[in-house]
């Protein structure tokens, strides 16, 4: 079976580099080009030292992009939507890792991204790229918009509860804790090592744009409200979403297990992690680094109707490039785990 020709537009950032790593080792992929305006002509390992001697590939300019079967877009926010028409000429299938096509509503995009959408008519062409929610649509899709990392963790923590209408729709509080790689490789005052190391930084107590995706995916046709905050920690990779929901009925933990098992029992990348002993009793992002797993757990509060639902991912894997490769596998009927078998490291 001929390999699928694949290129990456915008390959010098962290997401592009992680995607490049995965695609270089994917048995069904023939990697053609990786573009970077800033580093055109340079070897890719200059941005991605882990790929030194793994590939001799050099960055191309976007203008020199040739046709291929599938084009991954890891361009800065806004570039995908502005360049979509010309990019569509290069590949029949596009997987966009930016935020440009995640929201179905143009008004929602303008509210959360602070400017009007450049091509709202294309919004409905893109399928929102969380396979655990949209597997069948993704199989048939030509355009997929890969979800945000914080949104992915929050959605997967809460999906079984919202789908089965078990929680009050306006009381959920979500606290996401994440790492420095979420900010990408552009440097700033705030990312300078002496300022960034070991912080517990309330960088988005409110107004985090990933809320819009969570509301979109969990509303199931009803108006819902998410109270969302993000705190940045001293880690590089990893997201932990701690979600506080309020159950409509008095359910026991056994009932909650049943709901999560019902939704996630057959999922290759979701593990339910809730144990009474050991140092890893609930989902822990540290041991997921480099893997495509989303670990999900929960604890019922004996004192109230509150249920604490917890999810952990690697923001660059299940939160970005890993999930994009999962989408690629779905689009072509490959086993969904192809090229995504790495289980993570311990200790790390």
């Amino acid at each position: 079976m001929a390999k699928i020709s694949v290129s990456i537009a915008g390959g010098s950032g962290y997401t592009g580099g992680e995607l490049l790593r995965l695609l270089l080792f994917h048995p069904q992929v023939e990697l053609k080009q990786v573009t970077s305006e800033r580093l055109t002509g340079k070897s890719v390992y200059k941005s991605h030292p882990n790929l030194r001697k793994v590939t001799q590939l050099k960055f191309s300019a976007l203008d020199d992009l040739q046709e291929c079967d599938v084009l991954f877009l890891c361009l800065p926010h806004g570039k995908s939507m502005c360049g979509l028409d010309s990019l569509k000429l290069k590949a029949k299938k596009i997987i966009d890792l930016s935020g440009d096509f995640r929201l179905k509503s143009a008004a929602g995009y303008e509210k959360w991204y602070g400017k009007p959408h450049a091509c709202p008519e294309n919004l409905m062409d893109f399928v929102y790229g969380i396979p655990e929610l949209h597997r069948e649509e993704m199989r048939a899709a030509s355009f997929i918009s890969s979800a945000g990392c914080n949104a992915t963790a929050t959605i997967l923590a809460l999906y079984p509860l919202y789908k089965n209408r078990l929680v009050e729709l306006d009381r959920t509080v979500v606290e996401v804790k994440g790492g420095s790689s979420e900010g990408g490789n552009s440097v700033s005052e705030a990312s300078h090592h002496p300022e960034r190391t070991d912080v517990v930084r309330s960088y988005k107590p409110t107004q985090h744009r990933h809320i819009a995706e969570v509301v979109q995916e969990l509303s199931f046709g009803e108006p819902i409200q998410m109270h969302f905050s993000a705190t940045a920690l001293g880690i590089v990779r990893g997201v932990l979403a701690t979600c506080h929901v309020f159950l409509k009925e008095d359910l026991q933990e056994k009932d909650i297990w049943k709901v999560y098992r019902q939704e996630y029992g057959q999922e290759p990348f979701i593990r339910i992690v809730k144990e009474a002993t050991g140092a890893y009793r609930y989902p822990e992002p540290k041991v997921l680094i480099g893997s495509n797993y989303c670990d999900v757990g929960f604890k019922k509060d004996e004192e109230s109707s509150r249920l604490v639902a917890i999810a952990a991912i690697d923001n660059l894997m299940k939160g970005a490039s890993g999930q994009a490769v999962q989408a690629f596998n779905l689009m072509h009927g490959f086993a969904e785990t192809t090229g995504l078998e790495f289980p993570g490291l311990h200790p790390i």
């Binding site: 933990e253 056994k254 297990w257 144990e275 009474a276 050991g278």
Partner: protein, 59 residues
């Protein structure tokens, strides 16, 4: 030797399979929630959470 049986884990409701040769008092793990279960009877099969010494989790 009695036939194997599928029981429900008392903690998480997951499926626990006991082989026909399972012994009274044997310790087994629930593969879903990792809880250590003790076989409290074999005719009929029954399991209960095995006594755990409370680990100091350091926090």
């Amino acid at each position: 030797m009695s036939a194997s049986a599928n029981l429900e884990c008392p903690i998480c409701g997951g499926e626990v399979t006991l082989g026909g040769d399972t012994l009274q008092g044997e310790l087994i793990e629930c593969s879903d929630c990792g809880t250590e279960l003790e076989v409290t009877s074999i005719k009929p099969f029954a399991v209960a959470e095995a006594p755990q010494e409370e680990e100091d989790w350091g926090e």
